[in-house]
């Protein structure tokens, strides 16, 4: 029997990459890991993702799959016999996909990315956005789980849990860059509880980097975006 070849091209601090790795761990898939230097991208990365030239990229038996949400669904379908991520009915799948898209378009594009790249009023606005989005996700946790704890997937750790939990490793980084505290435990208690439960999962414990390391990385990246302070 031919052995499966699975390789992940990634950057250790990337929330998008973490999704892929958690997904593979959850499925018990053995994979090879390659750390990319984004200022000097490998030939393999440029060949496997010529359109976006971004990580993460999953290479399965030599064939590339790109874009973290697409990779997650691929992982779920390619290794269908264990631990399904996606909800079983079409409507719940559509809602999970909607919220995953929301995390990318709003939490990341309109929140996290701007907290890193902006200062002054623009950064303040990004912080306000972030609080609004966390509030919406607090509601989404109830909607998607049908009120069943502890996960977005209800009793099952699933797609939307994998999509969002990587961001927990970035909370300290956002706080540091924005010189503020995210009131998770007081204003978003369901999310706070959810984060703590997820952090007990083997896959999450293994993959999520230490928040302090992420914060240090983020501060350096921010310095490069803004020039010297």
């Amino acid at each position: 029997m031919e052995e499966e070849q699975v390789k992940v091209l990634n950057l250790w601090a990337s929330t998008f990459g973490m999704r892929v790795l958690i997904g593979l761990e959850e499925k018990g898939v053995k994979y090879e890991y390659q750390e990319e230097n984004l200022s000097s991208k490998s030939e393999l990365l440029l060949q496997m993702n010529p359109v976006h030239k971004k990580i993460p990229a999953l290479i399965h038996n030599g064939k590339p799959v790109c874009e973290s949400l697409i990779i997650l669904e691929y992982i779920d379908e390619a290794w269908a016999s264990s631990n399904p991520f996606m909800p079983s009915n079409a409507y719940d799948r559509a809602r999970a996909r909607f919220w995953a898209d929301f995390v990318d378009k709003k939490v990341y594009d309109n929140g996290a990315a701007l907290i890193m790249k902006c200062k002054g009023e623009a950064q303040e606005e990004a912080k306000r956005n972030m609080l609004e989005y966390l509030g919406l996700l607090e509601g989404a946790l109830d909607e998607l789980s049908g009120g069943i704890k502890p996960y977005f997937g209800g009793e099952q750790f699933g797609f939307m849990d994998i999509v969002f939990i990587p961001f927990a490793s970035w909370f300290l980084a956002w706080e540091t860059m924005g010189d503020w505290k995210i009131p998770l435990d007081t204003q978003f208690p369901r999310l706070y509880e959810w984060v703590n439960v997820c952090l007990e999962r083997e896959s999450v414990k293994k993959i999520l980097p230490h928040p302090e390391m992420v914060a240090e990385f983020a501060v350096q990246m921010r310095k490069r975006f803004l020039g010297s302070d």
């Binding site: 359109v51 874009e67 697409i70 691929y74 379908e77 409507y91 799948r93």
Partner: protein, 215 residues
């Protein structure tokens, strides 16, 4: 509200006639032979129903099925495919092919729409020239998809499907983009497969039924 007969679905689409995203949903429903009602939205002001069914993004299209909303055109297309699975599958069946069509559809939303489509529609001067360059580059990617392997008739493979539906609404805009940009897209020399593909798609009932955007 009228009583539903056996097996009769009740689907409603909140739509904007000129939007390629709305067109995707209507074509998808037509391909599946689903009976639906289309409510044309005037985006200023937005209807109560739209604000209720899509409170977060407040955008069209929205598919309302059995009273429940589905948002985002690509998500709606997969929902349509999964909900009415017995006729005309829109998605490929194997996981890798599914990942490929999802990748290109996502590319259309993330890059094609912003850099190429809006890059021509909403700009002028050097930005417009850059938009045209993006258009040529991205059409090249899609031409490459049609040429892959031994060539394929549709973007999704042998059958008209999800990725074809995701892209065909833009086809009705190319003539306008040429007029606005004062240029001609070199279809015959650079993108002959795409040109053939467009002609084939335009002959489908589902596509004919949805009128092109601008004249």
């Amino acid at each position: 509200m009228a009583k539903m007969g056996q097996g009769e679905e009740q689907a409603k689409v909140l739509s904007l006639w000129v939007s390629p995203f709305s067109m995707r949903v209507l074509i998808g429903l037509e391909e599946k032979g689903v009976r639906y009602e289309c409510q044309e939205e005037n985006l200023d002001p937005k209807s109560e129903l739209l604000l209720q069914m899509n409170p977060i993004h407040k955008t069209v299209p929205v598919l309302i099925h059995n009273g429940k909303p589905v948002n985002e055109s690509l998500i709606i297309l997969e929902y349509i495919d999964e909900t009415w699975p017995t006729s005309n599958p829109l998605m490929p069946s194997n996981p890798y092919d599914r990942a490929v069509v999802r990748f290109w559809a996502d590319f259309l939303n993330k890059k094609f729409f912003k850099d190429a489509f809006y890059g021509i529609l909403k700009t002028e001067g050097e930005a417009l020239e850059e938009g045209k360059r993006y258009m040529l580059k991205y059409l090249g990617y899609l031409e490459g998809e049609l040429s892959a392997g031994r060539g394929k008739p549709y973007l999704g493979g042998e059958q008209f499907g999800y990725l074809d539906i995701a892209f065909i609404p833009y086809a009705s805009w190319f003539h306008s983009l040429e007029t606005i940009g004062k240029w001609k897209i070199p279809w015959e020399s650079e993108f002959p497969r795409l040109q053939q593909w467009m002609k084939k798609c335009m002959q489908r009932e589902s596509v004919k039924k949805n009128p092109p955007g601008p004249s």
